[in-house]
């Protein structure tokens, strides 16, 4: 299908909206009626037609507006994109992977014509037609990582692998769940995850690291992660927390359905061919509670997950103060019926809400 790109904002007037298409394909992150940390990895080799899993780098109706929002963030704070000196080759690897994947997966939107190291890249939604020399930085307007990730939805952490450890040595981070690339750059895997509660004690990060170190070229992996965001704000950065934090206090029983968003990260992991670095795209999807509960199974399940989540996790995810308000709203969409296993909406088989 041809995607109709929205003109919308993720700040100020928050005109962001999901179409019915975007709601149905939303990556709902709960496969059962409760949630706890796990190393929930699976192979990233496509998925059901139309789902966010289908393509290597999903492009949706928010693409053009998300890239405009990224440009605003970078103009205000160029430190959101950084690359330590030894990571330039990994930046080229990233550029190649994204250009090749997008041109193959979305031939109507993107074209890549390669004649030796002379490459022509056409990005139709963003109106870009650029010829450059692969591996020659002087032929790009900025570094290769910044160049391509200004044209690709989601954040990108580029992890160098040395001595059985991963290091956060480059990235483009403007749609993050409250972490700072500028602060964390150069840290090892355990250090940048240090502030996460409970998961260290559970051995989650040791197992995750072991898995990630062994990811091979051509065999990417994926997982979902989630948090909560008031207003469809992409840039929930620590840098700007003193500006957006107060928005959490604006929820009321009347506006919560429109204002409160479930924020889901589709995290994927790719081994890069020349640098042996690991590319870690973190794609953010937002959905308003009022849209989410139009899928009866998701409404039932989200209520149960939020209700039963350990206090420590609700605090870490930043919604402990709003949890009572969220439960008041969500309980109206939970009739107590059982839910089908798995994350898919199952609209044809799950019963409508019983009132």
């Amino acid at each position: 299908m041809t995607i109709q790109f929205n003109t919308e904002t993720f700040r100020d007037d928050y005109s962001f909206r999901n179409s019915d298409w975007a709601i149905k394909r939303f990556p709902f992150p709960f496969h059962e009626d409760s949630y706890m940390y796990s190393v929930n990895m699976e192979q990233h080799r496509g998925g059901p037609a139309g789902s966010v899993y289908e393509k290597r780098f999903d492009v949706d109706e928010h693409y053009v507006s998300e890239m405009a929002d990224r440009a605003i963030v970078l103009a205000e704070d160029p430190l959101r994109c950084q690359s330590l000196p030894h990571m330039t080759l990994a930046g080229w690897d990233t550029l190649e992977l994204i250009m090749v994947s997008k041109s193959e997966d979305y031939p109507d939107l993107f074209e890549l014509h390669r004649d030796g190291d002379r490459w022509r890249w056409i990005n139709k939604p963003m109106g870009i037609d650029h010829t450059f020399t692969f591996l020659d930085e002087t032929t790009l307007p900025c570094g290769p990582l910044e160049y391509i990730t200004r044209q690709a939805q989601g954040d990108y952490a580029v992890l160098d692998q040395r001595g059985d450890m991963l290091y956060m040595d480059a990235g483009m981070v403007t749609t993050q769940a409250d972490w700072s690339l500028d602060f964390d750059i150069g840290m090892d895997f355990f250090e940048w995850h240090a502030p996460v509660p409970l998961a260290h004690e559970m051995g989650i990060f040791k197992r995750a690291l072991k898995f990630l170190l062994n990811i091979q070229q051509g065999a990417p992996a994926r997982r979902l992660n989630w948090t909560m965001t008031v207003n469809p704000l992409l840039d929930t950065s620590p840098e700007n927390y003193h500006k957006w934090g107060v928005q959490k206090t604006t929820l009321t029983p009347e506006n919560i359905g429109a204002k409160q968003h479930l924020r889901v990260e589709l995290q994927t992991f790719y081994r890069l061919p020349r640098s042996n670095a690991l590319l870690f795209p973190i794609r953010c999807y937002l959905i308003a509670f009022q849209d989410l509960v139009t899928v009866p199974k998701w409404g039932r399940r989200l209520h149960r997950v939020v209700r039963d989540l350990p206090e420590e996790l609700a605090t870490y995810k930043g919604f402990i103060a709003n949890r009572p308000l969220m439960l008041d709203y969500l309980s109206r969409y939970d009739d107590g019926l059982p839910t089908s296993p798995g994350i898919w909406p199952d609209l044809e088989t799950e019963p409508p809400l019983q009132t």
Binding site: F183, P238, H242, V246
Partner: protein, 202 residues
């Protein structure tokens, strides 16, 4: 002076050891204030080390307390500086002239050790090969995550950013590259509701 035992914390927070003599062609020792005591203890276990030692010492508010005792260890080079900032060019020069076999010893406050460790890392020495020992003040070097300004010698939580004036809480999340802990606005979700500052670790 007894050594302060930092409570167990998250994995990005630095941990410090006890300086011990290691074989090397040259020994670079950087200390501030009570960090001098760690060097004196080091000398007690191996005085011969100091014949090839370069001591860079910033007394801070200890004044002359330790200076003559350090000089009496007979280091090959001895520099007493008025501040870390004043000594950093010298530290860079020493590190750029260094050869294989240099041992680095850092002692004193977290801010001093963090910044000197950062210089040594930039010179190519892995942080795990640098010895550290905490002595003296438990004050922290904090970076405001909002304005990126550094506030030195923070002793309370919360504290006021010396640059942008926001009220920040003191996290244990630490960046070796910045040689600083992270300070985050404490009243972002309830402007004006700032708890009374309490002394760190109290």
């Amino acid at each position: 002076m007894s050594k302060f035992q930092f409570p167990p914390s998250i994995s990005s927070r630095p941990v410090y050891g006890t300086l011990e003599p290691r074989p090397g062609k040259a020994h670079l020792m950087i200390a501030d204030a009570e960090g001098a005591e760690a060097l004196l203890d080091l000398a007690a276990s191996d005085a011969a080390l100091f014949a090839n030692a370069h001591i860079i010492y910033i007394p801070k508010d200890t004044g002359e307390t330790y200076v003559e005792r350090l000089r009496a260890l007979g280091p090959a080079q001895f520099y007493v500086g008025p501040s870390y900032a004043a000594s950093v060019q010298r530290i860079r020069r020493v590190l750029s002239d260094a050869h294989m076999g240099l041992q680095v010893y850092l002692a004193g406050t977290e801010g001093l050790m963090g910044q000197a460790q950062n210089e040594a890392m930039q010179a190519g020495i892995p942080h795990g090969a640098i010895q550290t020992e905490h002595r003296g003040s438990v004050a922290r070097r904090m970076q405001c995550v909002h304005c990126k300004g550094i506030t030195e010698d923070v002793t309370t939580d919360p504290f006021v950013c010396s640059h942008c004036g926001l009220n920040l809480f003191v996290r244990d999340h630490y960046s070796r590259r910045l040689a600083a802990f992270q300070g985050v606005c404490i009243d972002a979700e309830d402007p004006g509701n700032v708890p009374e500052p309490v002394e760190l670790y109290k």
